[in-house]
């Protein structure tokens, strides 16, 4: 029988997930089987998964997709005209008029690529986006995986490295491991709302050059999990840094539609790049990512996303585009992407409902973020930087020494132990900061605040109860 020694060493080196998800699943199962717990059900807000938390999908999107799945519904009176028209248009670009056929080209359906390019062009004030620079994949995790895989080479000191923000999205460290890349951390400045610091970038890079061959810098803007929104000046600095230091820019902009901080706005890396003139816009290699897993659509389970590739070497780009040849992206999610980038317009029958739903989602997020941040800051032993965008809050834990000791004894990270106990005692599943790459003595927890307000209140109440009890027990 094959033993674990014969498993791919790259796979063996992938860091294991924490036990929190499986614990949550186990407890949920126990409750289902009739087990008694101090709570009725587990509330899991550890991932950026608004639907799981109870938020509703966008009606227009779901109606269009339903009709695309089952075109008989074109005859159904319940659907408004624009839903039917859109569905017909989209079915028309599917081979055989069916969402069950393969994409014609492995980068995505040409019509959808065009819609995405038009969206980006509009968003960036006319800076042109070209369909041939867009690649659609089964989620931004897959899009990112393709780029990381493309860059992976060398071993040890010659291994390709990626400058990675600390904290980073909790799904990133294992992905870097999976593709055989070295994670080179650069610290975000917590006391400045998790801002990027140029000196820190230089320090991190200098350190990186001793350990590996840094080739890219990963940015998350709006920040996952920090909620920080980079201002134009910062973006320019980062671009200049990447240009001078020969780094490819990987810009994760999945939460671009969720900026709520006062006087804050989303600036795309691409737009700023082009505003900086030809010296940069014709040379800096930039890949930007977006997906259905954003706040407004929240369609994480559909798995759909795209990347826009700027200034990549043409021969390398061909290899990238061929990567999906044996397994093209799924169709329904491409159609969902089209709906995402091409929303109902004023005057369309669905526009009223659509804009109300978007507004409701944005308001909920903004109010929840503020409410939760204030609440958490009022709790002893917890400190939370206000978020400006994205869907997470990422408070800092000041853990009493006894908790740290218990964690050491049990061989788990203190923030994981905290989350475990919280889950067992209160049925709330949060994320632990070590999943976001942070190391001791920085302990944090991560929670998605895009949820129905009543759910958020429940979470805060349970968390507060737990925190107060913990500090009482471990003064």
């Amino acid at each position: 029988m094959s033993s674990v020694r014969e498993v791919n060493p790259t796979v063996r080196r992938i860091r294991a997930p924490t036990s929190l998800q499986s614990l949550a699943a186990r407890i949920t199962e126990e409750i289902k089987q009739g087990g008694q717990k101090p709570f009725r059900q587990v509330i899991d807000v550890s991932s950026g998964d608004p639907h799981r938390a109870g938020m509703a999908p966008i009606s227009f999107a779901r109606q269009v997709l339903a009709v695309c799945f089952y075109p008989e519904l074109l005859k159904d009176e319940r659907f408004p005209l624009d839903v039917k028209q859109r569905a017909q248009q989209l079915l028309g670009v599917c081979r055989g008029g069916s969402v069950g056929s393969y994409s014609l080209t492995s980068c995505g359906i040409p019509y959808v690529l065009k819609s995405v390019a038009e969206f980006i062009t509009g968003r960036d004030g006319g800076v042109r986006s070209h369909p041939e620079d867009i690649i659609i994949s089964n989620g931004s995790q897959k899009s990112l995986k393709m780029i990381l895989h493309l860059m992976a080479s060398g071993e040890g000191k010659t291994q390709t490295g990626v400058l990675t923000p600390m904290p980073c999205p909790h799904t990133l460290p294992a992905l870097l491991d999976d593709n055989g890349l070295t994670l080179v951390p650069y610290q975000l400045m917590e006391d400045r709302g998790w801002a990027v610091d140029l000196d820190e970038l230089h320090r991190a890079l200098k350190n990186a050059r001793e350990l590996c061959e840094p080739r890219a810098i990963y940015i998350s803007n709006p920040g996952n999990p920090t909620g920080h929104v980079q201002d134009r000046k910062t973006i320019e600095e980062v671009i200049r840094f990447a240009a001078t230091e020969s780094l490819v820019l990987l810009a994760d902009e999945v939460y671009q539609d969720s900026v709520y901080g006062l006087e804050k706005e989303f600036n795309s890396y691409k737009r700023v790049l082009f505003d900086m003139g030809k010296e940069y816009s014709e040379t800096v290699e930039l890949i930007s990512f977006h997906s259905l897993s954003n706040a407004l659509m929240g369609e994480c389970g559909l798995r759909g996303g795209y990347q826009e590739v700027i200034n990549m070497d043409p021969a390398v780009k061909t290899h990238l585009k061929d990567m999906q040849a044996p397994s093209s992206p799924a169709v329904i999610q491409q159609l969902a992407l089209e709906v995402m980038v091409n929303a109902p317009a004023p005057g369309d029958p669905s526009y009223e409902t659509y804009s109300q739903e978007i507004l409701h989602s944005q308001r909920t997020l903004s109010q929840n973020a503020q409410r939760a941040c204030e609440f958490l800051n009022d709790l002893p032993g917890m400190n939370c930087q206000p978020a400006m965008g994205g869907i997470f809050l990422y408070p800092c834990l000041n853990l009493p020494p006894k908790v740290l000791n218990e964690a050491k004894m049990l061989g788990v990270e203190p923030d994981v132990l905290y989350c475990q106990r919280l889950l067992e005692e209160e049925g709330v599943c949060l994320g632990a900061g070590c999943e976001n790459g942070q190391e001791d003595p920085n302990y944090h927890i991560r929670l998605c605040v895009l949820a129905p307000p009543a759910t958020l209140e429940e979470i805060l109440a349970r968390l507060s109860s737990f925190q107060l009890r913990l500090l009482d027990t471990f003064p």
């Binding site: 674990v4 089952y70 860059m151 369609e299 798995r303 390398v316 799924a330």
Partner: protein, 491 residues
């Protein structure tokens, strides 16, 4: 500052270039969507622009895409998906009760009752249970454990994951993977990408593409000189050859895998596509267990299935699963770990797969329509399989094995020496030269046999049997006429 920057970053050297990119990625090719398809798309564009050609449309018989060729989706499957996507429809009395019941069950298993929530990375629990039950029923009651089921983004995703898991070692110890020639190019592409060693074993064209144990032994022994053979891949029913392996053959392969300590990967995505008299699909798992504990407790295996083929043809959903058998628990933990890195397979694909393994039962309202549609699709394919073999074998110079199963035909074509020489002149392999000419003259897009592998000195093409019967007849006729013309032109 880097040297690159010291030269001024306006210099033309890219940060990410051919020299520092992943060297394995540079070596990957995938024939099914390769050069000939590019040309086909170009011709289609030209036709649209009004350029005159000897044909009015390009028939893309290169890729196994049933819906693209006009096959209709199965009503029940699509109804359930629509209900899952827009649950308001659960109040609509136009939907049958069995569809609604299944949709409700799936939604109950989704976070927040939405298919938009992430699922667990191994796949929704109740769907894995349904898959396990389906396998048990199919295999005469042999137990299947839902923990051994991994839902995936199409079978391709699962296949690549297992290959990645198993590739290790350097130089002479590098993992070798046995694949059949001709093969489905996903395998060769994945092996190149992983820098694993590809070990070719030739199927026997004269015996209807069957597997020959002597050939397997030859291949593995030769391979031991330069690598560490650890895996054998089988596609049954076969792609591109369409052969359906006999039970005896499957037993022989299992015995071989046991003797040589090989991990068996059984790609069974065409398991419902069996047409020929006297042919039957035998699942590798079933045969393994019926061979008794010497094999059933030791041979490590992964079986793959998907929603893309059979009677569903739902390639665009990317639904699939694998079942792993006798995997070391620590190795399985590693597998579960890789799978978690990719978050989860698309939920619509998981839902669709659930319908495939849990279709309407005889006492349910949708049963009659479902069976009617399913039977029609499979009967249609069977008819086309027979027609294809029959017509091609009337053409001197084309030798076509019976299309026992799957969706393709892989006939051997005799090419005159002059044609082979002309191809060489143009820098093309002979069957690519042939297929390109066919494309230009008749607007029919096939895939040259060289894309799948074939014995030295033989030439083939792969054609799908998916076009609607009337169109298929025309396609078969045109190819036949082309072949005769081609032979005459180059004699």
């Amino acid at each position: 500052m880097s040297q690159h920057a010291a030269n001024g970053f306006a210099s033309r050297v890219k940060v990410l270039n051919l020299d520092n990119m992943n060297p394995n990625v540079r070596k990957v090719e995938y024939a099914v969507r390769g050069a000939i398809v590019q040309r086909a798309l170009q011709i289609e564009k030209e036709l649209k622009e009004g350029v005159k050609k000897p044909f009015t449309e390009v028939i893309k018989a290169n890729i196994g895409d049933a819906h693209a060729m006009g096959q209709k989706p199965i009503t029940f499957l699509r109804q359930v998906l629509a209900l899952c996507t827009y649950p308001d429809l659960l109040e609509d009395n136009k939907f049958p009760e069995d569809a609604k019941q299944r949709a409700r069950r799936i939604l109950d298993a989704c976070g927040g009752q939405s298919i938009g929530a992430y699922s667990t990375s191994q796949g929704i629990e109740c769907i894995r249970q349904d898959v396990a039950r389906y396998i048990e029923k199919r295999d005469g009651g042999i137990p299947s454990n839902p923990d051994n089921i991994y839902l995936s983004t199409g079978a391709s995703d699962a296949i690549v994951t297992v290959l990645k898991l198993l590739v290790c070692g350097e130089g002479r110890d590098r993992t070798g993977v046995m694949i059949s020639i001709p093969q489905y190019p996903l395998y060769s592409a994945a092996l190149a990408d992983l820098a694993a060693v590809q070990i070719n074993y030739y199927l026997d064209e004269d015996k209807c593409w069957s597997l020959d144990i002597a050939e397997l032994k030859r291949a593995v022994n030769a391979a031991r000189q330069y690598c560490n053979p650890r895996v054998i891949c089988i596609i049954n029913p076969g792609n591109p050859t369409g052969q359906v392996q006999s039970r005896q053959c499957i037993e022989d392969v299992i015995r071989f895998a046991e003797e040589e300590h090989l991990f068996l990967m059984a790609d069974e995505v065409y398991q419902d596509n069996v047409y020929a008299e006297g042919c039957k699909f035998h699942s590798f798992k079933r045969v393994l267990f019926e061979m008794g504990p010497k094999y059933s407790t030791t041979v490590e295996m992964a079986s793959f299935h998907s929603t893309s083929k059979c009677y569903m043809g739902e390639c665009g959903f990317r639904g699939g699963y694998m079942e792993v058998i006798n995997m070391d628990p620590e190795v399985k933990a590693q597998l579960t770990k890789i799978v978690s890195v990719h978050l989860c397979p698309p939920v619509p694909g998981q839902a669709l797969l659930d319908m495939v393994v849990n279709p309407p039962q005889p006492d349910e309202p949708s049963y009659n329509t479902f069976m009617k549609e399913r039977t029609a699709v499979l009967a249609d394919l069977a008819e086309k399989a027979g027609l294809t073999e029959q017509i091609f074998n009337t053409v001197p110079g084309i030798t076509c094995n019976p299309v026992q199963g799957a969706m393709y035909t892989f006939p051997r074509i005799a090419l005159p020496q002059k044609a082979i020489d002309k191809a060489k002149e143009e820098g093309l392999v002979p069957d690519m030269f042939y297929c390109m000419k066919l494309l230009e003259e008749e607007g029919i897009c096939l895939v040259p046999g060289s894309g799948f592998g074939q014995r030295e000195g033989t030439f083939h093409f792969r054609m799908t049997i998916l076009p609607p019967t009337e169109k298929l007849k025309i396609v078969l006729q045109k190819i036949s006429e082309f072949h005769i013309r081609f032979t005459r032109e180059f004699s």
